[in-house]
Symmetry: D3
Subunit: 156 residues, 6 copies
C-alpha cells in the first residue's frame, strides 16, 4: 500500500495535485461529544436563551475549516466555497452530534477541512462545559460522505 | 449548573482568571484512531524506515497545542512550558493511541491544549493514511489527568 | 512630542517594556455601526431566534483581541486574562454599539486589544448584513477608559 | 430581508459561492482617524524623516487584508491579486484618511478585505500615536466603491 | 531600475497580478547550515534512530511555505500545489543543505515560498542543535531555479 | 552530546522549562543579503524618498519575531518585551546587514526569535528587489550575542 505523503527517502511531502482535474468536491464529516446529564441539561436550558454554547461551537467549526492547512502539515491551502454545519441533540446518550459539510471547486478534496471543523467544534463544546463535567468524551469523528475527484465517491 | 463562559446576557465571554493563584498546571489527554489493517501495516512497515507518519503526527500535535487559543474561541492565550507526546501501537484494534501532556505555571489550566494536540495529531495520521483508508474513525478523545488550580485534581 | 515607537533612525521598534512594573491593566473601548432600517429590523427580528448576528460579532471580537499583536505591528504579545463585551441596540440611529473590556496583569496596557476587538466585532456585523445594506458606516471607535500602568488612568 | 449568512436553523454558515461566476471584483473602502494637534504635528514632522508612522500603517493595512477570512468568521478565504493604499492628510480636522483598494478575480467580493485593511491601518496609527494622545477617534469606515459580481456596482 | 513593490508615493503596495496569464510556476531554493562537528555527529547518530531532527526541519519547511504571504508583507496569498524537500549531508563542512521545491498553477511565482521554506527549515535545525552549538551559521540561501511566468526562466 | 529536543523514543518534544529561573534574556542576531549593484543603487536612491524597502523589512522582521513559536515547531510561546533592529548599508559587497535584538524576562532564551526576525527581514528585502535581481544571496545568519539563563553568555 502506498503512503502518498512520503517521498522516496521517507520524508513527508505535500503531494503534487497540480495535474489533477478541477472538480466540485464535497465532504461531510461528523463526530459526537458524550457529556454528563448536568452538562446536557445546562445546554438545553441555555438553548432557549440564544444558545451560545452551540452557536459558539458552530462558529469555531467554520473558522477551523479555514485553518486546516496551517494545522495539518501536509494539507494544501484551499479556497473553500461553502461550509455548513448541523448539530443534533442526542438526549439518550446524552450528548451532541456535530456534522460539517465543506465544498470546493478544485484539485484536491476537502475531507480534512470537514474533519477539522468537526474536531474543533466538539472541542469548543468541551471547553464551554468543562466547568460542569471534565469526563466528557469526543468520539466517532469520521468521514460520512465524499464526492468529486479521481478516487471516486465514499459513503459510510 | 453554571455555564461559566457565558455572561449575564447569555453572550460568550473569556472568563476572568486574573485573580486566580499561579500554580503548576498539568494536563494529560489521549485519543485513538482506528484504522484498517492495510493502513496499520503501512505505518508499521514505514516505522522501520524513520517513521515519518507518526513523527509528523507528533509534530503537528505539539504545534497545535500552541494554537489552542486561536482555535477555541473562549480559551486564554497561554505560555505552555512543556509538551510531551506518546504514541502507542494498538495492533488488535488496529489503530494508534496518542497521548499529549502539557504543562504551565499560570492562572488557568492546560486541558484544552492537551485535547487540541491530541485531536490535531490524530487528524494528521488520518491525513497521511487517507489514500489507503477513508473509513478510519477517531475516538475516545478525553482528559486522562489534570492537576493544579482551584478545581482540584482529575483522574479518569 | 515623542513618537515612542520609533528609534533614533526613525525606524519602528517594539518599545522595551521589560523594566515596567507589573500591574492590573484594564481597557474599555467602544464603537458604533450605523445601519439602514431594514438591516436593523432584520437583526432585531433575528434576535428573538437565537441572535446569531450579534453572537457571531461578539465571538469575533473576543477572538480578535487575541490576534492584536499579529495585526498591529509594534504591539507586544500579551496574555489577556479577561475579555467581556456589551452590545447596545440603538434604534434611533439605527445601529449597534459594541463595547469590549480587556484585562491583564502585566507590563503594558491592553487598549489596542480592546480597540481591535471592537473594530473586528463591528466589521463582523457589517459582513453579516452587507447583503441587505452596503452603505453601513462604522464610527466612533474610541477608548472609553484605561487604568493601570505609569501613564495613569484615562476616562473619556 | 434576507440574512444570507444564517441557515434555516439560525446558525451562521459560510455562504455557498461555488456556483457564482468568476469576475473581476474591486472594492474601495476608507476611514478616518481624528487626532489631536500635537499628534498630527508629530506625524507631519516625522514625515520629512522617512515617515515610518504612516508607512507602518500602510504595511499593516495590506497585511490585514490577507487575514480577513481568519478574522471575520463567515468570510471566504480569497486570493487577492492587488492591494493599494492611499493616505490623505487632513490638517483641518486634524487627522488622516486611509483608503484601501483590493482586487480579485473570483466568485465573491473583496469589500470585507478592503474594510479590514482600513480598520487595522487606522488602529496602527492609533497605536503609534497613543503615547501622545489617548483621545483619538476612528470614524467613517465605509465602503466607497464596489464593482463585479451579481449584486451590481456600488458607489457611495 | 524599477522598484515594483512601491507606488508613485513610495509606499509599499501588493503588485497587481490580476491580468497576468495563468501558468505553471516552479521554484527551487536552497540554503546551508554550517554546524560544529559535535552537532553534526549528533544528527548523524540520531539519523539511524528515526532522524527526528531532519524530519522536523522538513515538516517546518513545508509548513512555512504556506505562511509566506503572512510573513512577507507584499506577497500574494497563493494556493501552492506541491512542496518537496531534499536534505543533503555535507560531512566536510560539516553541515546540511536544504532544498525546497514549490509549484503552483497561477498568476505569480513561488520563489518566496521556496526561500521561506528553506529559511525556516534551517532555523529549525538550528533550534534543535543549539544546546550543543550556538555558533552555527546559516548561509547561501538562494534561488536555484525558477520557471513559468513572463519574466522567463532563471537558473543559477 | 545531548539532543535536548528529543524524548527517550527519539520523538521531538517541547523541552520543559517550567523549573528554570526567570531572568532577563537578550539575544542579538544578524545576517546579510548580497545584492547586485542595480538593486543596491535602487534602494539607496529610494532611501532618500522615505526608504520603504528597508522600512518594510524592519516591520516584517519585528512581526516575525512574534511568530517564532508558530514557525519553529519546538519553540515555546514567549512574551517578548522588546525588539530593536539595525540596518547597515554595505556598499562594497554590495548588500545590507540586518541586526535584530530581542529581550524577554522569562524562563527560556530569545535567540530563535532574533534569528527568525533576521531571516524574514532579509527575505522581505529579497522580495522587494527580486524584479531587479534574482541572484541575490542571503548569508551569515548567526547569533552575535546572548545573555541570561543557565547556559551563560555567548559572544561571537
Amino acid at each position: 500500500m502506498n503512503l502518498t505523503h512520503l517521498d522516496e527517502q521517507n520524508k513527508p511531502k505535500m503531494v503534487d495535485v497540480g495535474n489533477k482535474a478541477q472538480s466540485t468536491r464535497i465532504a461531510v464529516a461528523s463526530g459526537i461529544i458524550e457529556v454528563g446529564q448536568s452538562a446536557f441539561d445546562a445546554v438545553i436550558a441555555n438553548r432557549a436563551k440564544k444558545g451560545p454554547v452551540l452557536q459558539t461551537a458552530v462558529i469555531a467549526a467554520i473558522q477551523a475549516t479555514k485553518q486546516t492547512s496551517t494545522l495539518i502539515p501536509m494539507c494544501h491551502p484551499l479556497m473553500i466555497t461553502s461550509v455548513k454545519t448541523d448539530i443534533e441533540e442526542l438526549p439518550e446518550l446524552p450528548g451532541f452530534k456535530l456534522t460539517v459539510t465543506t465544498k470546493l471547486n478544485g484539485q484536491t478534496g476537502v475531507e480534512m477541512e470537514a474533519l477539522t471543523g468537526v474536531s474543533i467544534g466538539l472541542l469548543t463544546i468541551y471547553d464551554m462545559l468543562k466547568a460542569i463535567d471534565k469526563g466528557m468524551v469526543i468520539k466517532h469523528i469520521q468521514l460520512e460522505h465524499k464526492s468529486g475527484g479521481d478516487s471516486g465517491d465514499f459513503n459510510r
